[in-house]
């Protein structure tokens, strides 16, 4: 199952490679990872989208906690959260398609952030389903470039750190 894990880390040299190395070294899967400084510039916030069964997610959370540069780990799936991803899509637009492109932009409440005689560059933000949907609609026009930020997410209520002690689970 997919989990979104929010990780507060020291904002210093090498931390990203420690986290990335943990995932690759232990064969955990990363779907996306985003990182940027927080309000307190001594810390950064990572949002990691990963997947695995309960046992793997438990190990991921524990292994992240074990990293010395990791300050807090929250498995957002344990709470209610909101998440967003932004995509920037450059579409090829011939005369007739330009109006169609704008219609799609309008439906998805996306923005055109750049335009040239033969392209529109569109910015869209939302959950992954919405982004998939707009991509599908724009595809026939001809997508020249597509970049996505990966998801960022935040808990709706103040979030508790993920359980460090193991939860009791029936033995298999």
């Amino acid at each position: 199952m997919e989990h979104i894990i929010s990780v507060t880390v020291e904002n210093k040299f090498g931390v990203l490679s420690r986290v990335a190395g943990l995932f690759s070294g232990r064969g955990f899967n990363i779907e996306s990872l985003s990182v940027a400084p927080t309000l307190d510039s001594s810390m950064s916030q990572m949002t990691i989208v990963t997947s695995g069964d309960e046992r793997i997610i438990e190990q991921i959370v524990k292994q992240l906690n074990k990293l010395i540069d990791v300050i807090k780990v929250v498995d957002l799936n344990e709470t209610e959260f909101v998440s967003r991803e932004t995509a920037i899509i450059k579409v090829h637009t011939k005369d007739a398609d330009r109006a169609e492109a704008l219609r799609i932009v309008d439906i998805f409440r996306a923005n055109v952030i750049d335009s040239t005689p033969s392209t529109y560059t569109i910015e869209v933000s939302g959950d992954p389903k919405k982004i998939e949907a707009i991509i599908n609609l724009l595809q026939p026009l001809g997508i020249k470039d597509l970049v996505r930020t990966g998801r960022v997410a935040v808990a709706r209520e103040p979030a508790r750190p993920a359980a460090v002690q193991t939860k009791k689970v029936a033995r298999d």
């Binding site: 880390v9 020291e10 040299f13 090498g14 490679s17 420690r18 190395g21 070294g25 046992r55 438990e58 190990q59 524990k62 292994q63 906690n65 074990k66 990293l67 010395i68 540069d69 990791v70 300050i71 460090v164 002690q165 193991t166 009791k168 689970v169 029936a170 033995r171 298999d172």
Partner: protein
């Protein structure tokens, strides 16, 4: 007063109580060596290879319980020490490794002898630091020792660029360390502890499964109290040997792949596994889905990731063994009575039955080839009064040492378990000897493994580390040959070592003492002669080449399904084979 980075480095070592550094110099660390040369508080042991330096630091750490320290140069010095770091990481050995680095201005330019020390060591250290500013050096070293020795111990690397060791800064050593992302849990959860104590009271077939964690937390006394009070038998992992007295009636010996019959049967049929500072390694669990099918599991470990990594746990307790065992004992002292003993009588009867049915066995003929088990057994019997420290290399001899050398106390057993590093034994023994100059330090080695760090004999001779090496010389990578006999139809692909060097002459060439046991009747006399020597000694013992180590649980097998002796076809083959006997090997050797 301002000090150079090199001087700060040494001041820090002194503050940490470091007496010995295992080291090998090079361009970028010359300033540090120059300062080391001019002082007397910290002894420098010059090794012949950085891997040796690393394993010596490990041996020092395992024997003393304090962090071992090594110092290497950039580039090849660093890459050479990686094996030791990886070994220490797998076995949770506290150590601090200092590496030299090219000047900060040149990092990343493919400078001479540059390597990405941080990148290289990241997956095999608990943490690592690149010191970019001499003003951070003292605080970094303080943190390095703190991280290496607290929580689950492990190796820490501090990478010091050349210019940092030359630059000057005001020296102040911090009194304490606080790292917001690092707060090991020492106290176990009270509610969980209570649950565990209740389960212990109720269990009919409990077993204590204890590992290296008991030794790291110096909890042997507490463990002994628990076991004796509750009359629960004790299984030890390879890394836990010495945590509980090997000759104690409650000790069932080592469990796992080459564990004793009773240890593995007791584990398999128990109804409550009490794991203390052990990590359910695959050499112990066998096939995880069939592991302890009837048992509830209590797991005490300081590292949450160890819990439920391989095996489901019913009562997890994150905490330090010593603290948690104390709390167990406190609760149980008030509740234990004769009833539990009565309740468990059938269990003890069963265990004794197992013990008698299949004790560890081997057959030594009076004039036959020397059996390796006999060597370990006599070595044990002849030296036990001297409370020796024992190291091993990796292979069959390691397993026989684990089975037959019964340790009474912790911190006497130096072996490479997690990584299984051949070549570990000799330098590790030297590290322990450097810490305890007056103690008897033995290294039980294989003829294959010893050759992986033989060069350190020069260090042993020059630095006067009179380790006694006993080579169980079977002419083979014996452990590999055993697997080939059992699982590859006896095709000895690259396991026959051919003519090994004459270890007696080799010892002599280094200025050490070389002795050889020619027949089993000479064993005691030669071992005694070795123990009476005050120099490093190699005792070469040509042993029966085809001896296999049993019991054995084939990889991925179930714990109650052990091979106890050679299968019939193998016996037949060995009886008929006109292969080299130890005597032949001996002639080859001395020719």
């Amino acid at each position: 007063m301002k000090l150079t980075g090199a001087e700060i480095f040494i001041e820090c070592l002194k503050r940490e109580g470091v007496k010995t550094v295992f080291a090998l110099p090079g361009g970028v660390v010359l300033k540090i060596f120059d300062i080391l040369y001019q002082q007397k508080d910290v002894e420098v042991i010059l090794t012949r290879h950085e891997q040796g330096a690393g394993h010596m630091a490990e041996g020092y750490a395992k024997a003393t319980g304090k962090a071992g320290v090594c110092l290497v140069t950039s580039g090849p010095g660093m890459t050479n020490v990686i094996t030791a770091l990886a070994d220490a990481y797998m076995d949770s050995v506290p150590m601090v490794c200092f590496s030299g680095q090219v000047p900060t201005s040149m990092i990343g330019n493919d400078a001479f002898q540059e390597a990405d020390n941080i990148g290289l060591s990241r997956p095999c250290t608990k943490y690592n630091f690149l010191v970019k500013d001499v003003n951070d050096l003292a605080a970094t070293i303080k943190e390095a020792f703190y991280i290496a020795t607290t929580g689950r111990p492990g190796p820490v690397l501090v990478d010091i660029p050349k210019d940092v060791s030359m630059a000057k800064a005001e020296f102040t050593y911090p009194n304490s360390v606080s790292i917001r992302g690092y707060n090991p849990t020492y106290e176990g959860n009270k509610w969980q502890i209570k649950q565990a104590a209740e389960a212990i009271m109720k269990a009919k077939k409990p077993i204590l499964y204890v590992g290296g964690g008991v030794i790291f937390s110096s909890a042997s006394q507490e463990l002994l109290e628990l076991a004796e009070m509750t009359q629960i038998p004790v299984d030890m992992t390879l890394m836990g040997l010495g945590a509980f007295p090997g000759e104690h009636p409650l000790s069932l010996g080592m469990l796992g792949m080459h564990g004793t019959y009773q240890a593995n049967m007791a584990m398999h049929y128990s109804d409550l596994v009490i794991a203390i500072g052990a990590r359910f390694d695959d050499r112990v669990t066998g096939k995880p889905s069939e592991f302890c099918p009837y048992a509830k599991v209590i797991h005490v470990d300081i590292d949450p990731t160890s819990i439920r990594k391989n095996i489901n746990v019913d009562i997890p307790i994150v905490g330090d063994c010593k603290n948690v065992l104390r709390e167990f004992n406190q609760i149980l002292r008030a509740t234990v009575n004769g009833e539990q003993k009565e309740l468990r009588k059938p269990w003890w009867d069963q265990i004794q039955e197992w013990q008698q049915a299949h004790p560890l066995t081997y057959h030594q003929e009076k004039d036959g080839p020397i059996k390796p088990q006999q060597v370990v057994k006599r070595l044990y019997e002849l030296t036990r009064d001297r409370d020796p420290i024992v190291s091993t290399d990796v292979g069959q001899h390691q397993m026989w040492a684990a089975q037959y050398f019964k340790l009474a106390k912790p911190n006497r057993w130096l072996t490479s378990g997690g990584l299984g590093t051949m070549g570990f034994g000799f330098p590790a023994a030297m590290g322990a000897q450097a810490a305890f100059r007056d103690r008897l330090v033995l290294c039980i080695a294989g003829d294959g493994s010893i050759q992986m760090n033989m060069q350190e004999m020069a260090t042993a001779v020059v630095s006067k580390l009179p380790v006694k090496i006993i080579i169980l010389n079977n002419g083979f990578h014996g452990m590999v040959r055993q697997w080939q006999d059992l699982f590859y139809e006896g095709r000895y692909a690259s396991s026959d070592l051919g003519t090994t060097p004459d270890f007696v002459k080799l010892a002599d060439a280094y200025g050490a003492v070389g002795l050889r046991v020619k027949k089993v009747g000479d064993l005691d006399a030669v071992l005694k002669e070795a123990m009476a020597t005050d120099k490093p000694v190699i005792v070469d013992v040509p042993t029966y080449p085809y001896e296999n180590c049993y019991p054995m649980i084939p990889a991925g097998g179930c714990n109650h399904e052990m091979l106890l002796e050679d299968p019939p076809e193998l016996k037949k083959k060995q009886a008929g084979a006109g292969k080299v006997t130890p005597e032949d090997k001996d002639t080859v050797l001395t020719a």
